[in-house]
Structure formats: structure tokens, C-alpha cells
């Protein structure tokens, strides 16, 4: 369908963009447009004004330091795919993002757009949640740093205010030697995942698991963490018996909805399978991957 009518502005400063958002009721940010424009084509949104952020300076870079990663909100998927530094600086982030959409969409879709869109099956919200990222947003009231755990409220719903613009997302540092894996299942390449599981943990000198993180996409209203599974894993040695228990517990912990893509029970079972695959894979990953 053709899109509904709206006005368009392309401000050159963040202040101007925020002003436009707060002065115009029903205004919305336009970044890559790869989620918003399909919604408009289906007439599922009726913004009065689109505030295009393509000219805002300094939001299109990935900065890597001892404090971790700072990823600008306008960084596109293709930049993450092409950034050779990420293979060691944050392999999980790069690997998860490589599952997002198709070539042409990856040339346009952005980190901030995906976070704000908050699709529960999307990889960016998932990696932000499992890595305990901070999401930085600026509005009339100034800058806010929002924990990923507090950012995603429901499907397509976040704790962002109407006049707030995401400027960057910050990842904690990624120690070398960390074990990690990500598995998702989608029917066709580039489609949204029916479900996906990301795991990472460290192995101490005593050979037991420390700091386990298990995150799931596509099996809830928001990306989630499986605290119970993380507790089960911490302090244990990873063997087939533990993987079996983790698989069972992961399945039992999630309560996914049925939709046109898959039944809830299928997703439950899938989360268990992907958790087991992820743990096996992570065990053998280490620094080399």
C-alpha cells in the first residue's frame, strides 16, 4: 500500500531534532527506515512528521577501548559485519548481527532503529540484553543512560520518551578467552528468528563456569535472560549431564506465545535445543572463533 501522509524534516543537529520531536505531537524519528517504512506501508503507524537523523554528526562510529564498546545509534548492520576489530573486541555482537535481514536491508538498518523498534525476535535488542548494555538517549530533559533490562517494556514498546533520541549503546568489555555461542532458527536466511539463544561464560583456573549469561530472543514479549539457567551453570563443570539439565530448564523457564510463525510449545522446545547446542558450541569456542 502507499504510505499515509506525513511531513518530513532533516535537521543537522541533535538539539534541533529533539526540538522538532517535542514541538510536534505524533512526530517520529526516521533512521534506516527498514522497520518504520514497512509499518507505514501497512498503515500500522500514522506519524505526523518524520525527523530524519541522517545528518546528525558523530553517531555513526564504533569506538573500542578498555572500557568496552561504544556503538553509535546510526551504525548500520553492514558496518558491524565489515569491522575486522570486532572479531576479537566483541565476537558475539558481530556474529549475532550477521544474522540480521538481507544485504540491501543491512546497508540501511541501524542499531538505534532496531533498539527503538524493540522487536522481541530481533538480534540487536537480544545482544544488548544478554550483554547488559547501557542505552544512551538524549531528550529535552538531558541525557539518560538506560540499562537494557529496563529499556524493553513489551513487544515494540520501550521506556523511551517521545522526545528522546538514542545516541549510542555501550557494551561492557569482552575478555579474551571468553566462551560464547549464538544459535537461531529461522525458516529462510535473513528472516526474523523463530527463536534464538545466546550464551557466554568464562572458565576459571579451577575449570568451572563463571559469570554465565543466557539470553533468548523470539520467546517472549521482550528479549529475555534465563536467570535460572545461569544459576544452574555457575560454579559447575560443563558436561553432557549439565547440558541436559540446562536444556530442560531453559524450555521450562520460557513461556512463548503461539503466532503465525510457530506454536508456543514448538518455541519452548526449540529454546531448549538451541541452549544445548549453544553450550556445546561455547565449550569448544574459547578465544579462537
Amino acid at each position: 500500500m502507499k504510505m499515509p501522509q506525513f511531513d518530513y524534516a532533516c535537521p543537522s543537529s541533535l538539539e534541533e531534532a529533539i526540538q522538532l520531536l517535542s514541538d510536534n505531537e505524533g512526530a517520529k524519528v526516521l533512521s534506516g527506515g527498514q522497520s518504520l517504512l514497512p509499518l507505514l506501508a501497512f498503515r500500522m503507524a500514522q506519524p505526523t512528521l518524520l525527523v530524519d537523523i541522517q545528518k546528525l554528526a558523530g553517531m555513526d562510529r564504533i569506538e573500542i577501548s578498555a572500557d568496552g564498546l561504544r556503538v553509535g545509534a546510526r551504525v548500520r548492520w553492514c558496518q558491524i559485519e565489515d569491522d575486522k576489530r570486532l572479531a576479537t573486541a566483541h565476537p558475539l555482537f558481530q556474529f549475532m548481527i550477521n544474522h540480521v535481514a538481507h544485504y540491501q536491508i543491512r546497508n540501511r538498518g541501524t542499531v538505534g532503529g532496531s533498539l527503538a523498534h524493540a522487536d522481541p525476535s530481533a538480534e540487536m535488542p537480544g545482544v544488548a540484553r544478554v550483554c547488559d548494555c547501557d542505552i544512551v538517549a538524549v531528550g529535552n530533559a538531558g541525557e539518560r543512560v538506560i540499562k537494557a533490562a529496563d529499556f524493553f517494556v513489551a513487544a515494540l514498546e520501550t521506556s523511551l520518551q517521545e522526545d528522546e533520541i538514542i545516541t549510542e549503546v555501550r557494551f561492557p568489555p569482552w575478555p579474551s578467552g571468553r566462551r560464547w555461542a549464538f544459535h537461531e532458527f529461522a525458516r529462510r536466511r535473513g528472516d526474523f528468528a523463530i527463536a534464538g539463544v545466546a550464551v557466554f561464560f568464562d572458565i576459571g583456573s579451577d575449570g568451572v563456569i563463571a559469570d554465565a549469561h543466557v539470553g533468548v530472543i523470539g520467546a517472549g514479549d521482550t528479549p529475555i535472560r534465563l536467570d535460572a539457567v545461569e544459576q544452574l551453570l555457575n560454579g559447575q563443570r560443563l558436561d553432557e549431564e549439565l547440558i541436559g539439565r540446562a536444556r530442560h530448564l531453559a524450555s521450562e523457564t520460557v513461556d512463548p506465545q503461539s503466532d503465525i510463525h510457530a506454536a508456543g510449545d514448538y518455541r519452548k522446545s526449540l529454546v531448549g535445543t538451541l541452549t544445548a547446542r549453544g553450550l556445546r558450541d561455547a565449550a569448544s569456542s574459547g578465544a579462537v572463533k
Binding site: Y8, L37, P38, A101, H102, Q104
Partner: protein, 162 residues
């Protein structure tokens, strides 16, 4: 409210008066009357509408015309040199990479962007990139072959440039 935009289409400056809601694809077809670009699904899933903006393959149904203001845009009309088909187009012809032709402009522009950036792309990479485009006729094999066979032309081009 209509806005006046200017951009470069296949090397020539163009301008149009457009509503902000007009997609780049519709602008190219209906305002600028270049109908080589095809519009299929209008919501980003089929790839038929692919054009190249500043060197990147993008979906022209998920790009507003106003977003392209001041940019360089290339469509399938920009590939051939007069009556001489570009090597990629010749390769599609040779390998029967099209039947009805509806999807073809999208495949051509996607492959053109890919091989311009990555003239040595292997079969796996080519398949992965083409996975964003739908073809109802060919069964894809002939398209993959056509793109693979066009690589030497892009490699030679790159060698000349560098």
C-alpha cells in the same frame, strides 16, 4: 506538503516535486518516468525494487525520495552503454538468468553492487547476498551462475582502476 528534491540519476542531475511519503522507487518510475525499476511487494521482502544509492544496494520501496536528496542514484537503466549490454547483463542472457524478467532489475542492481565492492565474492557469498531477492521463475540456479560468470569483468575493472 510537496518538497522539491534534486539528486543524480544514472549520472544526470534530476529534480522532482514530491510528497514526503513518496518512495524513491515510485519517484523514479512515476515522476522521472524511468520504469526499469520494478516494484513488487512495497514492503521490503522481494528485492525487485533494488537500486544503488551512493554505491550501496538498497530497497527503493523502503527509501523515501526525500531521503535521496543530494545523492547519487543508479538504476538498471544505468548499466548498459547505449545498445551494448553490460557484462553482467550479457551473463544473465547467456545463462538464462531471467524468464519473465520482473525480478531482473533487482537482481542486476544487487549483483552489480556486490561485484563492484567484492569482485572476488565466492559462490556462498553470492548466494547469501541474492537471498534477499525473490524470483518466481528461474529457480535461482541460472542467476547464481550468471553472477559468478560476470566476476572476471569486475575483476578486470578493478585492476584497471587501481
Amino acid at each position: 506538503m510537496k518538497m522539491r528534491i534534486e539528486f543524480e540519476l544514472n549520472g544526470k542531475p534530476v529534480s522532482a516535486e514530491v510528497e514526503p511519503r513518496l518512495t524513491l522507487g515510485d519517484c523514479i518510475r512515476h515522476e522521472l518516468l524511468q520504469t526499469g525499476t520494478h516494484i513488487g511487494c512495497e514492503h521490503g521482502v522481494c528485492g525487485a525494487c533494488t537500486v544503488i544509492v551512493e554505491g550501496d544496494a538498497v530497497r527503493s520501496c523502503l527509501t523515501l525520495a526525500v531521503q535521496a536528496a543530494g545523492k547519487r542514484v543508479q538504476t538498471v537503466e544505468g548499466l548498459a552503454n547505449g545498445d551494448n549490454l553490460a557484462p553482467l547483463q550479457q551473463s544473465f542472457q547467456k545463462h538464462h538468468g531471467l524468464q519473465c524478467g520482473f525480478c531482473t532489475p533487482g537482481f542486476l542492481m544487487t549483483a552489480h553492487a556486490l561485484l563492484t565492492h567484492e569482485p572476488a565474492a565466492d559462490e556462498e557469498r553470492i548466494r547469501e547476498v541474492l537471498s534477499g531477492n525473490v524470483c518466481r521463475c528461474t529457480g535461482y540456479l541460472s542467476i547464481v551462475k550468471a553472477v559468478m560468470d560476470a566476476r572476471p569483468a569486475y575483476q578486470a575493472n578493478k585492476a584497471v582502476q587501481s
